[in-house]
Amino acid sequence: MRKTSVLERVRLFGRAGIDVVATLGRSTLFLLRALFGGGSRNGFQLLVKQLYSVGVMSLAIIVVSGLFIGMVLSLQGFSILTKYGSEQAVGQMVALTLLRELGPVVTALLFAGRAGSALTAEIGNMKSTEQLSSLAMIGVDPLKYIVAPRLWAGFISMPLLAMIFSVVGIWGGAMVAIDWLGVYEGSFWANMQSSVSFREDVLNGVIKSVVFAFVVTWIAVFQGYDCEPTSEGISKATTRTVVYASLAVLGLDFILTALMFGDF
Protein backbone atom coordinates (compact mmCIF):
# COMPACT_ATOMS: atom_id res chain seq x y z
CA MET A 1 0.00 0.00 0.00
CA ARG A 2 1.14 3.54 -0.76
CA LYS A 3 2.62 5.44 2.19
CA THR A 4 0.92 8.70 3.08
CA SER A 5 3.26 11.58 3.83
CA VAL A 6 2.68 13.93 6.77
CA LEU A 7 1.85 16.74 4.38
CA GLU A 8 -0.66 14.53 2.62
CA ARG A 9 -2.29 13.67 5.96
CA VAL A 10 -2.59 17.34 6.88
CA ARG A 11 -4.11 17.99 3.46
CA LEU A 12 -6.64 15.15 3.90
CA PHE A 13 -7.52 16.40 7.38
CA GLY A 14 -8.06 19.90 6.01
CA ARG A 15 -10.14 18.52 3.17
CA ALA A 16 -12.32 16.57 5.65
CA GLY A 17 -12.82 19.75 7.71
CA ILE A 18 -13.85 21.73 4.64
CA ASP A 19 -16.26 18.94 3.63
CA VAL A 20 -17.93 18.97 7.05
CA VAL A 21 -18.37 22.76 7.01
CA ALA A 22 -19.64 22.64 3.41
CA THR A 23 -22.18 19.92 4.31
CA LEU A 24 -23.40 21.96 7.28
CA GLY A 25 -23.80 24.99 5.03
CA ARG A 26 -25.63 23.00 2.35
CA SER A 27 -27.96 21.39 4.86
CA THR A 28 -28.81 24.74 6.46
CA LEU A 29 -29.56 26.35 3.10
CA PHE A 30 -31.57 23.28 2.17
CA LEU A 31 -33.65 23.55 5.35
CA LEU A 32 -34.25 27.30 5.00
CA ARG A 33 -35.27 26.98 1.35
CA ALA A 34 -37.59 24.06 2.05
CA LEU A 35 -39.29 25.72 5.05
CA PHE A 36 -39.45 29.32 3.89
CA GLY A 37 -39.37 29.02 0.09
CA GLY A 38 -43.17 29.27 -0.15
CA GLY A 39 -45.69 26.47 -0.44
CA SER A 40 -46.94 24.58 -3.45
CA ARG A 41 -50.54 24.86 -4.64
CA ASN A 42 -51.66 21.47 -3.32
CA GLY A 43 -49.38 21.68 -0.27
CA PHE A 44 -52.09 20.66 2.21
CA GLN A 45 -52.90 17.50 0.24
CA LEU A 46 -49.22 16.59 0.07
CA LEU A 47 -48.85 17.19 3.81
CA VAL A 48 -51.82 14.93 4.63
CA LYS A 49 -50.37 12.18 2.44
CA GLN A 50 -47.03 12.44 4.23
CA LEU A 51 -48.66 12.62 7.67
CA TYR A 52 -50.21 9.29 6.80
CA SER A 53 -47.02 7.60 5.58
CA VAL A 54 -44.70 9.14 8.19
CA GLY A 55 -47.04 9.38 11.18
CA VAL A 56 -49.93 6.93 10.90
CA MET A 57 -47.75 4.16 9.49
CA SER A 58 -45.41 4.54 12.49
CA LEU A 59 -48.27 4.12 14.97
CA ALA A 60 -48.04 0.33 15.25
CA ILE A 61 -44.37 0.25 16.23
CA ILE A 62 -44.84 3.17 18.64
CA VAL A 63 -47.88 1.64 20.36
CA VAL A 64 -46.35 -1.84 20.69
CA SER A 65 -43.00 -0.47 21.91
CA GLY A 66 -44.70 1.94 24.31
CA LEU A 67 -46.79 -0.86 25.76
CA PHE A 68 -43.85 -3.19 26.39
CA ILE A 69 -41.59 -0.45 27.75
CA GLY A 70 -44.33 0.65 30.17
CA MET A 71 -44.83 -2.94 31.29
CA VAL A 72 -41.11 -3.54 31.78
CA LEU A 73 -40.73 -0.26 33.69
CA SER A 74 -43.51 -1.29 35.99
CA LEU A 75 -42.00 -4.71 36.63
CA GLN A 76 -38.52 -3.32 37.25
CA GLY A 77 -39.81 -0.42 39.33
CA PHE A 78 -41.92 -2.71 41.45
CA SER A 79 -39.03 -5.09 42.19
CA ILE A 80 -36.77 -2.20 43.24
CA LEU A 81 -39.36 -0.17 45.14
CA THR A 82 -40.60 -3.21 47.08
CA LYS A 83 -37.20 -3.38 48.79
CA TYR A 84 -37.92 0.04 50.31
CA GLY A 85 -41.59 -0.63 50.92
CA SER A 86 -42.53 2.03 48.38
CA GLU A 87 -44.25 -0.10 45.75
CA GLN A 88 -47.18 2.35 45.78
CA ALA A 89 -44.85 4.85 44.06
CA VAL A 90 -44.50 2.67 40.96
CA GLY A 91 -47.13 4.78 39.15
CA GLN A 92 -45.19 8.01 39.53
CA MET A 93 -41.93 6.29 38.57
CA VAL A 94 -43.42 4.90 35.36
CA ALA A 95 -45.09 8.20 34.45
CA LEU A 96 -42.09 10.41 35.14
CA THR A 97 -39.66 8.10 33.33
CA LEU A 98 -41.89 7.96 30.28
CA LEU A 99 -42.91 11.62 30.14
CA ARG A 100 -39.48 13.08 30.83
CA GLU A 101 -37.19 10.62 29.04
CA LEU A 102 -38.30 7.43 27.40
CA GLY A 103 -41.35 8.82 25.59
CA PRO A 104 -39.49 11.48 23.56
CA VAL A 105 -36.17 9.60 23.28
CA VAL A 106 -37.39 6.11 22.34
CA THR A 107 -40.01 7.56 19.98
CA ALA A 108 -37.30 9.59 18.24
CA LEU A 109 -35.03 6.53 17.94
CA LEU A 110 -37.85 4.38 16.60
CA PHE A 111 -38.96 7.17 14.28
CA ALA A 112 -35.42 7.51 12.91
CA GLY A 113 -35.32 3.78 12.23
CA ARG A 114 -38.75 3.43 10.68
CA ALA A 115 -39.76 6.72 9.09
CA GLY A 116 -36.36 8.45 8.87
CA SER A 117 -34.68 5.65 6.95
CA ALA A 118 -37.73 5.36 4.68
CA LEU A 119 -37.63 9.11 3.94
CA THR A 120 -33.93 8.97 3.07
CA ALA A 121 -34.33 5.91 0.84
CA GLU A 122 -37.40 7.34 -0.90
CA ILE A 123 -35.84 10.73 -1.69
CA GLY A 124 -32.50 9.09 -2.61
CA ASN A 125 -34.28 6.76 -4.99
CA MET A 126 -36.14 9.68 -6.54
CA LYS A 127 -32.79 11.35 -7.08
CA SER A 128 -31.14 8.29 -8.63
CA THR A 129 -34.06 7.71 -11.01
CA GLU A 130 -33.96 11.41 -12.05
CA GLN A 131 -37.47 12.04 -10.69
CA LEU A 132 -36.19 15.09 -8.79
CA SER A 133 -34.52 16.44 -11.94
CA SER A 134 -37.66 15.68 -13.87
CA LEU A 135 -39.76 17.67 -11.37
CA ALA A 136 -37.34 20.58 -11.59
CA MET A 137 -37.53 20.51 -15.39
CA ILE A 138 -41.32 20.63 -15.25
CA GLY A 139 -40.85 23.87 -13.31
CA VAL A 140 -41.72 22.42 -9.88
CA ASP A 141 -39.24 22.99 -7.07
CA PRO A 142 -38.53 19.59 -5.46
CA LEU A 143 -37.78 21.38 -2.18
CA LYS A 144 -41.36 22.66 -2.06
CA TYR A 145 -43.07 19.64 -3.56
CA ILE A 146 -41.10 16.72 -2.13
CA VAL A 147 -39.03 17.95 0.82
CA ALA A 148 -41.25 20.52 2.58
CA PRO A 149 -44.30 18.25 3.09
CA ARG A 150 -42.07 15.51 4.48
CA LEU A 151 -40.32 17.92 6.86
CA TRP A 152 -43.59 19.33 8.19
CA ALA A 153 -45.09 15.85 8.48
CA GLY A 154 -42.14 14.77 10.63
CA PHE A 155 -42.31 17.92 12.78
CA ILE A 156 -46.03 17.43 13.41
CA SER A 157 -46.24 13.69 13.79
CA MET A 158 -43.29 12.89 16.04
CA PRO A 159 -44.42 14.91 19.10
CA LEU A 160 -47.87 13.34 18.74
CA LEU A 161 -46.32 9.88 18.49
CA ALA A 162 -44.24 10.61 21.61
CA MET A 163 -47.40 11.54 23.53
CA ILE A 164 -49.13 8.35 22.34
CA PHE A 165 -46.03 6.37 23.37
CA SER A 166 -46.13 7.80 26.89
CA VAL A 167 -49.88 7.29 27.29
CA VAL A 168 -49.75 3.68 26.08
CA GLY A 169 -46.66 3.08 28.25
CA ILE A 170 -48.44 4.37 31.36
CA TRP A 171 -51.43 2.21 30.52
CA GLY A 172 -49.17 -0.85 30.09
CA GLY A 173 -47.42 -0.01 33.37
CA ALA A 174 -50.75 0.31 35.18
CA MET A 175 -51.92 -3.01 33.76
CA VAL A 176 -48.87 -4.83 35.10
CA ALA A 177 -48.75 -3.00 38.44
CA ILE A 178 -52.45 -3.12 39.29
CA ASP A 179 -53.75 -6.27 37.61
CA TRP A 180 -50.69 -8.45 37.93
CA LEU A 181 -48.55 -7.25 40.81
CA GLY A 182 -51.48 -6.17 42.97
CA VAL A 183 -50.55 -2.52 43.59
CA TYR A 184 -53.57 -0.67 44.94
CA GLU A 185 -55.20 1.14 42.01
CA GLY A 186 -56.10 4.26 43.98
CA SER A 187 -52.56 4.87 45.22
CA PHE A 188 -51.05 4.06 41.79
CA TRP A 189 -53.03 6.85 40.07
CA ALA A 190 -53.10 9.25 43.02
CA ASN A 191 -49.31 9.12 43.44
CA MET A 192 -48.89 9.68 39.74
CA GLN A 193 -51.26 12.65 39.70
CA SER A 194 -49.68 14.33 42.69
CA SER A 195 -46.10 13.98 41.47
CA VAL A 196 -46.43 14.75 37.76
CA SER A 197 -46.35 18.45 37.00
CA PHE A 198 -47.76 19.63 33.68
CA ARG A 199 -45.12 22.30 33.10
CA GLU A 200 -42.11 20.47 34.53
CA ASP A 201 -42.76 17.03 33.14
CA VAL A 202 -45.38 16.93 30.38
CA LEU A 203 -44.43 20.20 28.69
CA ASN A 204 -40.69 19.57 28.93
CA GLY A 205 -41.23 16.14 27.39
CA VAL A 206 -43.17 17.71 24.54
CA ILE A 207 -40.44 20.33 24.02
CA LYS A 208 -37.88 17.52 23.83
CA SER A 209 -39.89 15.62 21.24
CA VAL A 210 -40.37 18.78 19.15
CA VAL A 211 -36.58 19.31 19.10
CA PHE A 212 -35.96 15.64 18.25
CA ALA A 213 -38.62 15.76 15.51
CA PHE A 214 -36.88 18.75 13.95
CA VAL A 215 -33.42 17.19 14.03
CA VAL A 216 -34.36 13.64 12.98
CA THR A 217 -36.54 14.72 10.05
CA TRP A 218 -34.00 17.30 8.89
CA ILE A 219 -31.22 14.70 8.90
CA ALA A 220 -33.42 12.13 7.10
CA VAL A 221 -34.58 14.33 4.23
CA PHE A 222 -31.20 16.02 3.77
CA GLN A 223 -29.35 12.70 3.61
CA GLY A 224 -31.77 11.53 0.91
CA TYR A 225 -31.51 14.75 -1.08
CA ASP A 226 -27.74 14.99 -0.78
CA CYS A 227 -26.85 11.33 -1.36
CA GLU A 228 -24.81 9.88 -4.21
CA PRO A 229 -27.47 8.78 -6.70
CA THR A 230 -26.33 5.15 -6.76
CA SER A 231 -27.44 1.99 -4.93
CA GLU A 232 -24.41 2.21 -2.66
CA GLY A 233 -24.93 5.94 -2.12
CA ILE A 234 -28.55 5.42 -1.02
CA SER A 235 -27.56 2.56 1.25
CA LYS A 236 -24.86 4.69 2.92
CA ALA A 237 -27.21 7.66 3.25
CA THR A 238 -29.85 5.49 4.93
CA THR A 239 -27.29 4.17 7.40
CA ARG A 240 -26.06 7.73 8.06
CA THR A 241 -29.61 8.85 8.79
CA VAL A 242 -30.12 6.24 11.49
CA VAL A 243 -26.64 6.72 13.01
CA TYR A 244 -26.55 10.55 12.93
CA ALA A 245 -30.16 10.91 14.04
CA SER A 246 -29.73 8.47 16.95
CA LEU A 247 -26.53 10.14 18.13
CA ALA A 248 -28.06 13.61 17.75
CA VAL A 249 -31.12 12.56 19.77
CA LEU A 250 -29.05 11.09 22.60
CA GLY A 251 -26.64 14.04 22.68
CA LEU A 252 -29.42 16.62 22.59
CA ASP A 253 -31.32 14.70 25.24
CA PHE A 254 -28.42 15.16 27.63
CA ILE A 255 -28.21 18.90 26.87
CA LEU A 256 -31.97 19.42 27.15
CA THR A 257 -32.21 17.39 30.36
CA ALA A 258 -29.36 19.42 31.86
CA LEU A 259 -31.12 22.66 30.88
CA MET A 260 -34.58 21.55 32.05
CA PHE A 261 -33.83 19.59 35.18
CA GLY A 262 -30.23 20.42 36.16
CA ASP A 263 -29.98 22.71 39.16
CA PHE A 264 -27.30 25.14 38.14
Binding site: S133, S134, L135, A136, M137, I138, G139, V140, Y145
Partner: protein, 269 residues
Protein backbone atom coordinates in the same frame (compact mmCIF):
# COMPACT_ATOMS: atom_id res chain seq x y z
CA UNK B 1 -37.76 39.82 -26.64
CA UNK B 2 -37.74 36.14 -27.49
CA UNK B 3 -39.60 36.49 -30.82
CA UNK B 4 -36.99 38.88 -32.24
CA UNK B 5 -34.07 36.66 -31.34
CA UNK B 6 -33.48 34.07 -34.10
CA UNK B 7 -31.83 31.74 -31.59
CA UNK B 8 -33.78 29.89 -28.92
CA UNK B 9 -30.59 28.84 -27.13
CA UNK B 10 -27.12 30.38 -27.20
CA UNK B 11 -24.11 29.11 -25.29
CA UNK B 12 -21.42 31.78 -25.27
CA UNK B 13 -17.81 31.01 -24.35
CA UNK B 14 -19.07 28.27 -22.08
CA UNK B 15 -16.70 26.22 -19.94
CA UNK B 16 -17.59 23.48 -17.51
CA UNK B 17 -15.42 21.45 -15.15
CA UNK B 18 -16.24 18.40 -13.10
CA UNK B 19 -13.73 18.48 -10.26
CA UNK B 20 -10.39 19.05 -11.93
CA UNK B 21 -11.53 17.59 -15.25
CA UNK B 22 -12.51 19.88 -18.12
CA UNK B 23 -15.75 18.80 -19.78
CA UNK B 24 -16.14 21.86 -22.03
CA UNK B 25 -13.62 24.58 -22.75
CA UNK B 26 -14.87 27.85 -24.17
CA UNK B 27 -17.50 26.46 -26.53
CA UNK B 28 -20.07 28.44 -28.53
CA UNK B 29 -23.31 26.82 -29.64
CA UNK B 30 -26.36 28.48 -31.19
CA UNK B 31 -29.67 26.66 -31.57
CA UNK B 32 -31.95 28.37 -34.14
CA UNK B 33 -35.59 28.82 -33.15
CA UNK B 34 -38.02 26.21 -34.48
CA UNK B 35 -35.30 23.90 -35.81
CA UNK B 36 -34.25 20.38 -34.91
CA UNK B 37 -30.63 20.48 -33.81
CA UNK B 38 -28.60 17.38 -33.09
CA UNK B 39 -25.80 17.34 -30.51
CA UNK B 40 -23.64 14.37 -31.35
CA UNK B 41 -20.40 12.96 -30.14
CA UNK B 42 -18.79 9.88 -28.68
CA UNK B 43 -20.00 8.43 -25.36
CA UNK B 44 -18.71 10.27 -22.33
CA UNK B 45 -17.96 13.50 -24.21
CA UNK B 46 -20.50 15.45 -22.12
CA UNK B 47 -23.59 15.53 -24.36
CA UNK B 48 -26.00 14.98 -21.48
CA UNK B 49 -24.03 17.47 -19.39
CA UNK B 50 -24.59 19.99 -22.17
CA UNK B 51 -28.36 19.45 -21.92
CA UNK B 52 -28.21 19.91 -18.16
CA UNK B 53 -26.30 23.15 -18.68
CA UNK B 54 -28.94 24.42 -21.12
CA UNK B 55 -31.64 23.48 -18.61
CA UNK B 56 -29.61 25.28 -15.89
CA UNK B 57 -29.56 22.16 -13.76
CA UNK B 58 -25.79 22.66 -13.73
CA UNK B 59 -24.00 25.98 -13.52
CA UNK B 60 -21.20 26.63 -15.99
CA UNK B 61 -17.69 27.30 -14.64
CA UNK B 62 -17.54 30.25 -17.03
CA UNK B 63 -19.59 31.67 -19.89
CA UNK B 64 -23.24 32.38 -20.56
CA UNK B 65 -26.31 30.24 -21.24
CA UNK B 66 -28.99 32.27 -23.03
CA UNK B 67 -32.44 30.72 -23.43
CA UNK B 68 -35.16 32.79 -25.10
CA UNK B 69 -33.11 35.93 -24.52
CA UNK B 70 -32.45 35.28 -20.81
CA UNK B 71 -29.05 34.42 -19.33
CA UNK B 72 -30.06 31.52 -17.08
CA UNK B 73 -27.15 31.49 -14.58
CA UNK B 74 -28.14 35.02 -13.49
CA UNK B 75 -31.70 34.04 -12.54
CA UNK B 76 -32.89 33.45 -9.00
CA UNK B 77 -34.13 30.01 -8.02
CA UNK B 78 -37.83 30.90 -8.40
CA UNK B 79 -37.25 32.75 -11.70
CA UNK B 80 -35.45 29.68 -12.99
CA UNK B 81 -38.37 27.40 -12.13
CA UNK B 82 -40.71 29.80 -13.94
CA UNK B 83 -38.42 29.84 -16.95
CA UNK B 84 -38.37 26.06 -17.12
CA UNK B 85 -42.08 26.00 -17.95
CA UNK B 86 -40.96 27.01 -21.45
CA UNK B 87 -38.74 23.92 -21.72
CA UNK B 88 -39.30 20.20 -21.74
CA UNK B 89 -36.68 17.54 -21.18
CA UNK B 90 -36.96 13.91 -22.12
CA UNK B 91 -34.53 12.10 -19.82
CA UNK B 92 -32.73 8.98 -20.94
CA UNK B 93 -34.45 6.87 -18.25
CA UNK B 94 -37.83 8.52 -18.73
CA UNK B 95 -37.82 9.57 -15.07
CA UNK B 96 -41.53 8.93 -14.61
CA UNK B 97 -43.02 9.48 -11.16
CA UNK B 98 -43.23 5.94 -9.83
CA UNK B 99 -46.16 6.59 -7.48
CA UNK B 100 -48.39 7.89 -10.31
CA UNK B 101 -49.95 5.93 -13.18
CA UNK B 102 -49.37 6.83 -16.83
CA UNK B 103 -52.37 9.17 -16.99
CA UNK B 104 -51.38 11.06 -13.84
CA UNK B 105 -47.76 11.33 -14.99
CA UNK B 106 -48.81 13.09 -18.18
CA UNK B 107 -51.44 15.14 -16.34
CA UNK B 108 -48.93 16.25 -13.69
CA UNK B 109 -47.57 19.41 -15.42
CA UNK B 110 -51.12 20.46 -16.30
CA UNK B 111 -52.31 20.03 -12.73
CA UNK B 112 -49.44 21.99 -11.17
CA UNK B 113 -49.23 24.82 -13.71
CA UNK B 114 -52.78 25.34 -15.00
CA UNK B 115 -56.31 25.75 -13.65
CA UNK B 116 -57.85 23.68 -16.43
CA UNK B 117 -61.03 21.73 -15.66
CA UNK B 118 -60.69 17.98 -15.24
CA UNK B 119 -62.42 17.17 -18.56
CA UNK B 120 -59.96 19.33 -20.49
CA UNK B 121 -56.97 17.82 -18.68
CA UNK B 122 -58.29 14.38 -19.62
CA UNK B 123 -58.66 15.37 -23.28
CA UNK B 124 -55.16 16.85 -23.45
CA UNK B 125 -53.61 13.81 -21.76
CA UNK B 126 -55.40 11.45 -24.15
CA UNK B 127 -54.20 13.48 -27.15
CA UNK B 128 -50.60 13.45 -25.94
CA UNK B 129 -50.73 9.72 -25.22
CA UNK B 130 -52.32 9.08 -28.62
CA UNK B 131 -49.41 10.93 -30.23
CA UNK B 132 -46.92 8.51 -28.65
CA UNK B 133 -49.15 5.47 -29.23
CA UNK B 134 -49.85 4.71 -25.59
CA UNK B 135 -53.43 5.88 -25.07
CA UNK B 136 -54.35 2.32 -24.15
CA UNK B 137 -51.76 2.23 -21.36
CA UNK B 138 -53.14 5.13 -19.35
CA UNK B 139 -53.97 3.04 -16.29
CA UNK B 140 -50.64 1.22 -16.11
CA UNK B 141 -48.03 2.05 -13.49
CA UNK B 142 -44.47 2.91 -14.60
CA UNK B 143 -43.09 -0.41 -13.34
CA UNK B 144 -45.45 -2.20 -15.75
CA UNK B 145 -43.90 -0.47 -18.79
CA UNK B 146 -40.84 -1.40 -20.84
CA UNK B 147 -37.92 1.04 -21.04
CA UNK B 148 -38.98 2.25 -24.48
CA UNK B 149 -42.60 2.73 -23.38
CA UNK B 150 -41.49 4.68 -20.32
CA UNK B 151 -39.62 7.08 -22.55
CA UNK B 152 -42.65 7.54 -24.79
CA UNK B 153 -44.84 8.34 -21.77
CA UNK B 154 -42.13 10.75 -20.62
CA UNK B 155 -42.26 12.39 -24.05
CA UNK B 156 -46.04 12.77 -23.74
CA UNK B 157 -45.46 14.40 -20.33
CA UNK B 158 -42.71 16.65 -21.72
CA UNK B 159 -45.06 18.00 -24.43
CA UNK B 160 -48.07 18.29 -22.13
CA UNK B 161 -47.57 22.04 -21.66
CA UNK B 162 -46.53 22.61 -25.30
CA UNK B 163 -43.06 23.92 -24.44
CA UNK B 164 -41.11 26.17 -26.80
CA UNK B 165 -37.91 24.17 -26.40
CA UNK B 166 -37.78 20.42 -26.13
CA UNK B 167 -34.59 18.54 -25.26
CA UNK B 168 -34.19 14.84 -25.89
CA UNK B 169 -31.48 12.83 -24.15
CA UNK B 170 -30.72 9.77 -26.27
CA UNK B 171 -34.34 9.31 -27.40
CA UNK B 172 -33.63 6.41 -29.77
CA UNK B 173 -31.87 4.06 -27.34
CA UNK B 174 -33.90 0.91 -26.62
CA UNK B 175 -36.70 1.65 -29.10
CA UNK B 176 -37.94 -1.06 -31.44
CA UNK B 177 -37.86 -0.19 -35.16
CA UNK B 178 -41.57 0.75 -35.26
CA UNK B 179 -41.41 2.98 -32.18
CA UNK B 180 -38.15 4.46 -33.48
CA UNK B 181 -39.80 5.42 -36.79
CA UNK B 182 -42.76 6.98 -34.96
CA UNK B 183 -40.46 8.86 -32.62
CA UNK B 184 -38.30 10.23 -35.42
CA UNK B 185 -41.39 11.46 -37.27
CA UNK B 186 -42.89 12.87 -34.07
CA UNK B 187 -39.82 14.96 -33.25
CA UNK B 188 -39.84 16.38 -36.77
CA UNK B 189 -43.60 16.94 -36.66
CA UNK B 190 -43.48 18.79 -33.33
CA UNK B 191 -40.92 21.11 -34.80
CA UNK B 192 -42.68 21.65 -38.15
CA UNK B 193 -46.26 21.89 -36.89
CA UNK B 194 -45.84 23.66 -33.56
CA UNK B 195 -42.56 25.48 -34.15
CA UNK B 196 -40.95 23.76 -31.16
CA UNK B 197 -37.17 24.02 -31.02
CA UNK B 198 -35.82 20.51 -30.59
CA UNK B 199 -32.38 19.64 -29.25
CA UNK B 200 -31.59 15.99 -29.77
CA UNK B 201 -28.62 14.57 -27.92
CA UNK B 202 -27.73 11.27 -29.49
CA UNK B 203 -25.00 9.09 -30.88
CA UNK B 204 -27.39 7.39 -33.33
CA UNK B 205 -25.99 8.88 -36.49
CA UNK B 206 -28.55 7.73 -39.05
CA UNK B 207 -31.66 8.68 -37.07
CA UNK B 208 -30.33 12.04 -35.93
CA UNK B 209 -29.06 12.94 -39.39
CA UNK B 210 -32.45 12.03 -40.88
CA UNK B 211 -34.36 14.63 -38.85
CA UNK B 212 -31.83 17.27 -37.81
CA UNK B 213 -31.62 20.62 -39.60
CA UNK B 214 -28.24 21.26 -38.07
CA UNK B 215 -25.76 19.16 -36.11
CA UNK B 216 -23.02 19.98 -33.63
CA UNK B 217 -20.36 17.34 -33.10
CA UNK B 218 -18.76 17.69 -29.67
CA UNK B 219 -15.80 15.86 -28.21
CA UNK B 220 -12.53 16.44 -26.45
CA UNK B 221 -14.05 19.45 -24.59
CA UNK B 222 -14.63 21.29 -27.88
CA UNK B 223 -17.13 21.65 -30.70
CA UNK B 224 -15.38 19.51 -33.29
CA UNK B 225 -17.64 20.45 -36.14
CA UNK B 226 -21.01 21.86 -37.09
CA UNK B 227 -23.26 22.10 -40.10
CA UNK B 228 -26.17 20.45 -41.86
CA UNK B 229 -26.04 16.65 -41.95
CA UNK B 230 -24.86 16.75 -45.60
CA UNK B 231 -22.16 19.32 -44.82
CA UNK B 232 -20.88 17.18 -41.97
CA UNK B 233 -20.87 14.02 -44.09
CA UNK B 234 -18.77 15.88 -46.65
CA UNK B 235 -16.52 17.44 -44.02
CA UNK B 236 -12.76 17.16 -44.56
CA UNK B 237 -12.02 17.69 -40.87
CA UNK B 238 -10.42 14.41 -39.74
CA UNK B 239 -12.09 14.58 -36.30
CA UNK B 240 -15.57 14.99 -37.80
CA UNK B 241 -14.89 12.34 -40.43
CA UNK B 242 -13.75 9.93 -37.77
CA UNK B 243 -17.03 10.32 -35.88
CA UNK B 244 -19.32 10.37 -38.93
CA UNK B 245 -17.68 7.24 -40.35
CA UNK B 246 -17.31 5.45 -37.02
CA UNK B 247 -13.54 4.89 -37.20
CA UNK B 248 -12.43 3.52 -33.80
CA UNK B 249 -9.20 5.45 -33.35
CA UNK B 250 -7.94 8.65 -34.86
CA UNK B 251 -7.61 12.28 -33.81
CA UNK B 252 -10.49 11.73 -31.35
CA UNK B 253 -9.09 9.08 -28.98
CA UNK B 254 -11.26 6.04 -28.29
CA UNK B 255 -9.45 5.49 -24.99
CA UNK B 256 -10.00 7.53 -21.85
CA UNK B 257 -6.69 9.24 -20.95
CA UNK B 258 -4.47 6.65 -19.26
CA UNK B 259 -0.86 5.74 -18.56
CA UNK B 260 1.08 3.75 -21.15
CA UNK B 261 -0.65 0.36 -21.59
CA UNK B 262 2.61 -1.65 -21.44
CA UNK B 263 3.84 0.19 -18.34
CA UNK B 264 0.47 -0.31 -16.67
CA UNK B 265 0.51 -4.06 -17.33
CA UNK B 266 4.08 -4.46 -16.16
CA UNK B 267 3.79 -1.96 -13.33
CA UNK B 268 2.66 -4.53 -10.78
CA UNK B 269 5.78 -6.70 -11.22
Amino acid sequence: MSAENPYAVELKSLSFKRGERDIFTNIDIRIPRGKVVGIMGPSGCGKTTLLRLIAAELRPSAGEVWVNGVNLPTLSRSELFDMRKQMGVLFQSGALFTDLDVFENVAFPLRVHTQLPEEMIRDIVLMKLQAVGLRGALELMPDELSGGMKRRVALARAIALDPQILMYDEPFVGQDPIAMGVLVRLIRLLSDALGITSIVVSHDLAETASIADYIYVVGDTQVLGQGTPDELKASEDPRVRQFMQGIPDGPVPFHFPAANYRDDLLGGR
